[in-house]
């Protein structure tokens, strides 16, 4: 008793700086984010309201004109639409291709599991640029696939510098993120729950659709957010595999900042993309929470 009281007293008399070690642990990463992310970002927000100047990046005159230009131009809206459409398609296809793979990984036993995981993650060691060039070698007009098609006497296929090429690149690069998220969710499912469904009269397929699939949705949804956001902000892949035929917002932003040297307008475009992305994600999370209301919170 006396011992416990002594311990309690000691806890109360701890020096202030030792009260919350968790805060200290967050500090390095927090500082890094503030200096290299938050400050530049806030600066960009400010810049998007400034005026373009001759011979300088901007002058300190506040205006809404940048936003009016972006939002009032049908061209930008078409590009925004295409950007979201491509990100959405990439998300859908990573689910379609990734789910079976995730299932195989989650259900693999023995040495097969680490091998499958290694094969999945190995491409991440190679950057998106290199992988996009790799796809160019495969998909290009004189690429491997078209050479084979020609050799077989078939018509050449347009695989690159169009939506298809960009989509292939996006799906390929972001697939591992989806697979990891879904495999994680699948591994959370108790084997007995599926067996219970079988014993209650459900066939293997029925068990999958009524039990396994709904229980894996948390993984599909979180993988979906990840892939969608990554695909929305993709720059290298669209520029290499889409060329100038598939314009997306990140490409326009970079052009505006670096080529047109119009920092205020480029910033405003980035902000519009960011705002719309937030709106879409908000709606997405709403839908997700409805579908996953069975999860304890």
């Amino acid at each position: 008793m006396a011992h416990a009281a002594e311990l309690g007293r000691r806890e109360l008399r701890r020096p202030l700086w030792s009260v919350r070690p968790a805060v200290l642990l967050l500090l390095p990463a927090g500082l890094f984010l503030v200096v290299f992310f938050l400050v530049p970002y806030l600066n960009m927000v400010r810049m998007s309201f400034l005026t373009k100047a001759q011979g300088a990046a901007f002058t300190n005159v506040m205006t809404l004109e940048n936003y009016l230009r972006v939002l009032g131009d049908a061209f930008y809206w078409r590009v925004i639409g295409r950007t979201f459409w491509l990100a959405g398609l990439a998300t859908v296809f990573t689910v379609l291709l990734g789910y079976p793979l995730a299932y195989a990984i989650a259900r693999a036993s023995g040495p097969r599991r680490p091998i499958l995981l290694m094969l999945l993650l190995a491409p991440l060691l190679v950057g998106a640029v290199v992988r996009s060039y790799g796809w160019m070698i495969l998909l290009g007009r004189v690429g491997l696939i078209n050479q084979m098609l020609r050799a077989l006497g078939w018509r050449e296929a347009e695989l690159m510098y169009n939506t298809l090429g960009v989509l292939i690149g996006l799906v390929h690069v972001y697939l591992p993120f989806m697979v990891l998220a879904v495999a994680g969710a699948l591994e959370q499912i108790q084997a007995d729950v599926e067996l219970a469904a079988r014993s209650l009269g459900a066939s293997p397929w029925r068990t999958f659709w009524r039990v396994t699939w709904p229980l894996s949705l948390p993984g599909v949804f979180s993988g979906g957010i990840l892939v969608f956001v990554l695909a929305l902000s993709a720059y290298v892949i669209p520029i290499l595999l889409g060329g100038n035929n598939v314009l997306v917002m990140p490409m326009l932003v970079v052009q505006m900042l670096l080529d047109a040297f119009n920092w205020p307008l480029g910033s405003a475009m980035a902000m519009v993309l960011f705002g719309l992305a937030c709106a879409v994600l908000w709606a997405y999370v709403k839908v997700m929470n409805r579908a996953l209301r069975w999860i304890p919170r």
């Binding site: 007995d192 229980l215 999860i295």
Partner: protein
């Protein structure tokens, strides 16, 4: 309703034999507990009956129907798992309705049968809760309702009370017993808890290393164990090694280091172990089986006194007396037991 027959069933996992040559008949409407230490093959046996695994050898029949190679969804078996295995994404009502829905039963009928069974297990009013919003005991009853609502031929329970606290476990034992009797359903109940097996079972099947040791009603298992292992596994037991001198009035006369004793038994062997339960040893019975020893240790257990008594030839006996028959460490103690309370098993059993 159907009987369950396992005929020479063997199941291996790689090189490990989980169940070996198991022949077991569960009678129609009977509750049989599979009892044994962990890893003895009892859960594997249950999974064989459920159809989650198929045996390498042998046959499994429900009544006259061979189900050995039938997938689980065609066996019409109700199962309650140790962790309940409720569908976390479905409400109580949806969980219970699942088995009826996959059978293609009309919605209106599903609804009435679900509410009927929920009434039976006292869960009315919780239809729209999700499993995580229920207590352990409530989850347990949802699992029972879900298994019973499909009118299964056979009910399988895999340590269903293991995750409940002691008090609730005690209650649920009787609850499950009553429910099983009410439905009159053939049931296999897996447990490693012998008290649970004693309370629940019509008969107990004891498994050890995948091999069946004895199948008998609880009282017979306790009083007439077939081997040293059975006597040792179920309850506490003293073993007096000895040599059979002869038979007299249907009793065995055995020469033990503690003296010549008379006991019952059905062994052919000459070298035997006389099994005497701690509560069968009493200070004064006026019988002929008498052992004299010295109390070494005394533990007060409330309703019992637990003694260790040192006897001739290094024999240490475990004795449980009522607290009114007190004995102190260091005191000599004369113990007696009735021949019908002692049971001889072969020494090498």
């Amino acid at each position: 309703m159907a009987s369950i027959q396992l005929e020479g069933v063997t199941k291996r996992f790689g090189r490990v034999v989980a169940v070996q040559g198991l022949t077991l008949h569960v009678r129609e409407g009977e509750l049989l507990t599979l009892l044994g230490p962990s890893g003895c093959g009892k859960t594997t046996t249950l999974r064989l009956v459920a159809g989650f695994v198929t045996p390498e050898e042998g046959r499994i029949c429900f009544g006259t129907r061979d189900v050995t190679h039938l997938p689980p969804e065609h066996r019409n078996v109700g199962i309650v798992f140790q962790n309940y295995a409720l569908f976390p994404h479905m409400t109580v009502a949806q969980n219970v309705a699942f088995g009826l829905e996959v059978r293609g039963i009309a919605t209106s009928q599903v609804r009435s049968r679900v509410s009927e069974i929920l009434e039976r297990v006292q869960l009315r009013g919780l239809e729209d809760r999700y499993p995580h919003q229920l207590s352990g005991g409530q989850q347990q009853r949802v699992a029972l309702a879900r298994a019973l609502v499909i009118n299964p031929q056979v009910l399988l329970l895999d340590e269903p009370l293991a995750n409940l606290d002691a008090k609730l476990r005690e209650e649920m034992r009787f609850y499950i017993r009553d429910l099983q009797r009410e439905f009159g359903i053939t049931t296999i109940y897996v447990t490693h808890d012998q008290a649970e097996a004693m309370v629940l079972a019509d008969r107990i099947a004891l498994l050890r290393d995948g091999v069946l040791q004895q199948v008998a009603p609880p009282e017979e298992i306790y009083r007439r164990p077939q081997s040293r292992w059975v006597a040792d596994f179920v309850g506490l037991c003293n073993f007096l090694p000895g040599r059979v001198l002869g038979r007299e009035d249907g009793l065995l006369v055995v020469d033990t280091p503690a003296g010549v004793v008379r006991c019952s038994g059905a062994v052919e062997a000459n070298r035997v172990l006389v099994c005497v339960r701690p509560e069968s040893l009493r200070p004064h019975l006026g019988g002929r089986n008498r052992i004299v020893g010295v109390v070494r240790e005394r533990t007060f257990l409330g309703n019992l006194l637990d003694l260790r008594v040192a006897c001739p030839a290094g024999l240490m006996l475990r004795v449980q007396l009522s607290p009114s028959e007190d004995a102190r460490p260091g005191e000599p103690l004369q113990l007696e037991f009735r021949p019908e309370d002692a049971w001889a098993v072969a020494e090498d059993s």
